[in-house]
Symmetry: C2
Amino acid sequence: MPTSTRRARERANTRERIIEAALHVLETEGIAALTIRRIATDVEYSAPVVYQHFANKDALVLELVAHGHRLMLSEFRQAAQEPDTDRRMTRIASQYVRFAGEHPHLFQVMNDPMVDADERRRVAEPVIDVLKELLTSWSDAHDVVLADFDQACEILWGTLYGIASLSYLGSVGNDRARYLAEQALRTILLGWRTETPANGRPASS
Amino acid sequence: MPTSTRRARERANTRERIIEAALHVLETEGIAALTIRRIATDVEYSAPVVYQHFANKDALVLELVAHGHRLMLSEFRQAAQEPDTDRRMTRIASQYVRFAGEHPHLFQVMNDPMVDADERRRVAEPVIDVLKELLTSWSDAHDVVLADFDQACEILWGTLYGIASLSYLGSVGNDRARYLAEQALRTILLGWRTETPANGRPASS
DNA sequence: TTATAATTCCTAACGGCGTTAACTATGACG
DNA sequence: CGTCATAGTTAACGCCGTTAGGAATTATAA
């Protein structure tokens, strides 16, 4: 076994430790404490070492954003196991807001305008895909034909973010925001069912 | 006329010039360029002078946030002149998103988690009050009795913010976001009309 | 084994940030 | 005219992200 593989393994390991340290600082002390020097201290290195693993701070933060979306994705998948299509939607809404409440600083960087818009869209894609799947199965279950599916998804996604923001910006408590999100989702879905030209369930069913 | 009043007037004047300079830097070059030294240079003073008018940078930024909400309020009042109650609501939605698109950096600081939550809520109150008035007149016009009025307002406010954020975070263009906001509002209002126990218009009308 | 090459890691430093201290003028008031 | 407050300055402190340069360690080749 060549030593180069071990070296690469060690490199990858330190890189991972840096990410974990950064994540820990962010979640426990907030974005203001997330400095290169602080992270380096926590992994027992000097600051410049960080730059052997990340081009700059933004690149490191992007890793945290990606991690946050993976975490959110796993919680979404869990909530998506709810069999009832309607409850599944409200549970996703509740889960989204809960995530923002349980990981406020992570949620903050996940939606920080400072991180590149393209990158943010890229890492958020899998989570949005889950939302798309859920909306698809919901509309199928209710024989609702959405005029514009992507538009409907964007509305849901934006609404969830907005109501979660009410919580993490301090306008309302997280419990209330969860309830708001559920109600908002219910109302929107009801609206979509209503505006569909009242076609009674087709004969095939 | 004592000289002290002139001095006070001069003080107030430079204070105002500082705010205007800060606003100009923010709107034209973004939040990264908004530094004390830069603002001081623009008003042709040295940096410490700023601290004779504001306790710290946060206090100055708060003035910008307040200004932003005043501006938004005036645009809201304008949109609120629309006579049709339903169109009035969608116009508010569209106007909110348009504001975010036309003043992206201002919109950013207005919803910056770094500014104190209480202060932010305080300066945003008048704008939300307009939304409340509009929702009241809408529900009156349609004989809709909202189960929880404040909750309905919070949902609308959160939804508007969320969809506007889709635009300023780069997920969708501003034109599309405006359309999304209108559609979202229409759908929510339709949902509220629908879920109201279908009481035909009472005899009094 | 030893000379050479590569890699790792550190200290020191740069420029910029928010902010404060200490000092110098300038203009008002007894 | 002397005194005193006030406005304004420069210099500095301790942070920040980031880079340069060198020392020490480790791998490779003769």
